[in-house]
């Protein structure tokens, strides 16, 4: 890898676009995951009883369960969302940048 190629890549507007788009996307998704998780932790720390509310009148199942499972599923879905866009759009852009730097 020569300094030349690096310089070329850096000057390519597509590179700026890639970095900017990907970092916005990655940080947004991270923020979503952190918000979901720490929201859950804060509820447990400060209002644990709220998770013990029955799901419907007379039910044994409490709202905590679907919420807990939903967090697990959301973690999986978020990774899916990221991988789909990164392996498609971002990788295409990366390929173009590498081509143009040659």
């Amino acid at each position: 890898m020569s300094a030349d190629i690096n310089e070329k890549v850096r000057r390519n507007p597509k590179f700026q676009e890639l970095c900017q788009k990907r970092s916005t996307f990655a940080w947004t998704l991270s923020a979503v995951m952190l918000a979901i998780y720490y929201g859950f932790i804060l509820v447990i720390a400060f209002a644990p009883a709220s998770l013990g509310t029955p799901l419907w009148e007379g039910a044994t199942t409490t709202v905590g369960f679907p919420i807990g499972v939903a967090i697990i599923v959301s973690a999986f879905l978020l990774t899916g969302v990221y991988v789909k866009r990164a392996n498609g759009e971002f990788d295409d852009l990366t390929r173009q940048i590498i081509e143009e730097a040659k």
Binding site: M1, A3, I5, N6, V9, R10, F15, L18, C19, R22, A26, W27, L29, S30, M33, L34, I36, Y37, Y38, F40, I41, L42, I44, A45, F46, P48, A49, L51, G52, A59, T60, T61, T62, G64, F65, G68, V69, I71, I72, V73, A75, F76, L78, T79, G80, Y82, V83, A86, N87, D91, T94, I97, I98, A101
Partner: protein, 558 residues
Amino acid sequence: MSRLSTRVLAASAGVAAAALPGLALAAGAIEGAVQKQATNWVAIVMFLAFVAGTLGITYWAARQTKSAKDFYTAGGGITGFQNGLAIAGDYMSAASFLGISALVFASGFDGLIYSIGFLVGWPVILFLVAERLRNLGKFTFADVASFRLQQKPIRTLSACGTLTVVALYLIAQMVGAGKLIQLLFGLDYMVAVVIVGALMIAYVMFGGMLATTWVQIIKAVLLLSGATFMAVMVLYNYGFSFEKLFTAATEVHAKGTAIMAPGGLVKDPLDAISLGLALMFGTAGLPHILMRFFTVADAKEARKSVFFATGFIGYFYILTFVIGFGAIVLVLGNPEFTTAAGALIGGNNMAAIHLSKAVGGDFFLGFISAVAFATILAVVAGLTLSGASAVSHDLYAMVIKKGHATDKDEMRVSKMTTLVLGVVAVFLGIAFEKQNIAFMVGLAFAIAASVNFPVLFYSMFWKKLTTKGAFYGGFLGLATAVALVVFGPTVWVEVLGNESPIVPWKNPAIFSMTAAFLGIWIFSLLDNSKQAEDERRAFDDQYVRSQTGIGAEGASAH
């Protein structure tokens, strides 16, 4: 197996506490004497089949493993799907299988809190770490951390971080393995620990990363299928209705409907948040997990690995949850599995094991016992390989030989280190048999979150990071984490037997991570040396490579 119902003098829970941070008070470790069980032949035969199969794979892998690259990364040719399974196999320990189902069995909803904590680190690894790691690194995460910094101090720091985490984790696994095998197979503690040590040396020393990967993949498949079968059988008994299962559980559980809501497990909000931080960011700093990202061909496969791993791990935690509730309804109150006083034979950690007997008879009990053993092997193999690479690649090849070690020498050192680590692990496992080791994995996660993760994170994201900043800040994080745990409730009171802790919190991460992040930041900004200038300038080139993969390590030709 009625032989299992011979009296066992185990304390309430066991491996759970050995492996789950902060669980010490909730569950208690397997302490003191665990009475040896009658030899379980079904389990032993199945386990021998697993050993024979994996040793066969090791033989095959040994013939493929020719270079250091093969040894550390299986040549870089593992697919994303395979690596996802292997990561899951590396991460789902026997302790999380038995420990989390035991926790659900004992306190219901609280078990779910831990499962979630162990899972949510994964998306963050994907979004922030995985592809940069793949693009910048070669064999160890220290390759990335030291990419544009001074090799000697940063590699030394990373190797310290790696070896501490690996040692703590290994001891916990070894002691857990010895006790578990004593319970399940009726083998002597010492024999059990030696078998685990010998097998892990064999896998890693001869088969390197390729054998380790396949042991982890096979174990993940076995564990996921076994757990799926158990969960399906439990739900089948209740017409696949969670409501019916939960209702039945609250009727027989001593805590009644309290198991349906968060209980006393997480009391102090600060401790809860701190635990959450350690679990989430500790995962992103575990050296044996980070190392797995170098086994795939490129950033694309690295991303896929996390996607599949998150899916498998999440699915596994949902299963352990059903299994915990299944144990409440099918094991609790069954005289075959409980003592006269109503406690579980062998302690709460046996919940999933008893359930396997309840839903699948002796044969399935043997299968699950063998899977539990295999699970331990897969985890310790990954840990050993990671520890060996810190010594041979970071310390020997890069620090001592300053990057001029030959491939052959580096491999020789890594194999010798594997042997030494294995022997040391066996001795430590024996030495710590009667010790309270509940704090160890918690501390390992805290250190990973307060040393490895901050250094790695800054090196990839912050241009102004310098060697001095990373070095002093990293050691500050390490010292803070260790000091807080030593002076906190888990070591100062429970291990050292003092009256009250000097530090009231069980989980140090919120303080030690802050110390590391602030320390690295301040020391870097104060660093105005010429060297610091060069390091900052080098960020731009590193940035191009981390984003595009230009110049990144490719896969081997074969």
